[in-house]
Amino acid sequence: MPDFLAAWLDKNDIFTAMTILEYWNGMVTTVQLVFLSLIIGLMFAVPLAILRTVKNPFISGPVWFYTYLFRGTPLLIQLYIIYYGVAQIPGIQETFWWAIFREPFYPALLAFALNTCAYTTEIIRGAIVSTPHGEIEAAKAYGMSWFMRMRRLVLPSAARRAVQAYSNEVIFMLHSSAIASVVTIVDLTGAARNIYSRFYAPFDAFIFVAFCYMALTFTMVFVFRKLENHLLRHQRPVGS
């Protein structure tokens, strides 16, 4: 370790084992929250995107309306509506749901999952719609049913085309998750806010957390680039 860094670490009274642990716990919460909402969002987004491409407006209409609502309003408002609103639902305090939704983690998870699901639905829809016509015609000529076409042809090729946009959505979600700290969740940003108010040291508290987020972001960028390379390897020029 360089001497000046060691000297600075010796003198500082902010980055002790306790605060580092607080940041670490915050990071665990952030990763859990983001990962879970992305998984839940993706799970619902695939069927919704298929429904969104159906010709019948009574099926695709409601899905369009859902994505339009959630993409047109700020995530912060969605979070507030769910966080403050759940407690106001009549009778919820007597059911078992109250034990779950009383903690801020679950309303936030619900808000994030609904939000990311809306964006992901549109991304996957865009990929499905841009499937080359010839491929579908060929599949039809082979006598494949709708279900088989979807499973063998449309969805795999759509997944390849969606990866790039989806990686942006993942990073966007990671960045948006910082607002979880507003509803008293101690995620990375929440930890930074606590430490800021304890030491009144804005630069130390927030710049450190900025580096934590940067590490997370660039890890994800790296993983997605690997994944993209893997999925699009058939498009690489021969010999590279």
């Binding site: 609502l69 047109g72 700020p74 408002i77 969605q78 507003v182 940003t189 804005p202 630069f203």
Partner: protein, 234 residues
């Protein structure tokens, strides 16, 4: 009709704050984006390095963290500078760093980075023949930039600017966290006081929806105008 329990005027002035903030930070973002794109496409390695660091840093850090850093750190920074000026020059220099400035600067900086990428792509989409023709006519570098590059790259940049604007509009909601009384802040206080979250947040959500839908139409119209005379494929 809809009863806002007397919070109506406050919500309205909050909406005005939101819109002011959005437009000011858009102006800042557009300026930063043009400068950033020009720097990224320049021959100077220093300029390219600075612009790349800027866009990479912004992409790695959440908006809220930046905003908190600027808001809490801004005042501390101003105090440090004013202490220093007082100590060396004995000049009393001080200003209150308010959440509006912090919000505008942060949102402008963040979207400046995104605009940089948008403009960079758009500049690259302008045919090199156009630039060569301008040089052949004896246009200076600045003249080529202003008269040939900017008008032609706008057509390619508009969809990207539109997308960034939609995201920017929604990001303005974050300023309520650092204490600026925008629409969201008023709604939050009203919702807490009256214990009616749906009653106050849903109208605010619809105002945002109306703003995004309205700007979508406006951008479509602009896009149509910018593309007048361009033959559309398909």
């Amino acid at each position: 009709m809809f009863d806002l329990k007397g919070y109506g005027p406050e919500l309205l002035s909050g909406a005005v704050v939101t819109i002011e903030l959005a437009f000011l930070s858009l102006a800042l973002a557009l300026a930063l984006g043009l400068i950033g794109a020009a720097a990224k496409l320049s021959n100077s390695r220093v300029a390219v390095g600075i612009a790349t660091t800027y866009t990479t840093l912004i992409r790695g850090v959440p908006d809220l963290v930046m905003m908190l850093l600027f808001y809490y750190g801004g005042q501390v920074g101003v105090n440090m500078i004013s202490d220093y000026i007082w100590a060396t020059y004995e000049v009393d220099f001080f200003f209150q760093f308010d959440p509006f400035i912090a919000g505008t600067v942060t949102i402008g900086l963040i979207f400046g980075a995104y605009m940089t990428e948008t403009f960079r792509g758009a500049f690259l989409a302008v045919e090199t023949g156009q630039v060569e023709a301008a040089r052949a006519y004896g246009f200076s570098q600045w003249h080529t930039f202003r008269r040939v590059m900017i008008p032609q790259m706008m057509r390619h940049a508009l969809p990207g600017i539109g997308n960034n604007w939609q995201v920017l509009l929604k990001t303005t909601a974050l300023v309520s966290i650092i204490g600026l009384t925008d629409m969201v802040r008023v709604a939050e206080e009203a919702a807490k006081a009256e214990r009616m979250p749906f009653h106050f947040f849903i109208p605010v959500a619809f105002v945002y929806l109306a703003l995004t839908a309205g700007s979508e139409l406006f951008i479509k119209w602009l896009d149509k105008r910018a593309n007048a005379g361009v033959i559309q494929e398909n």
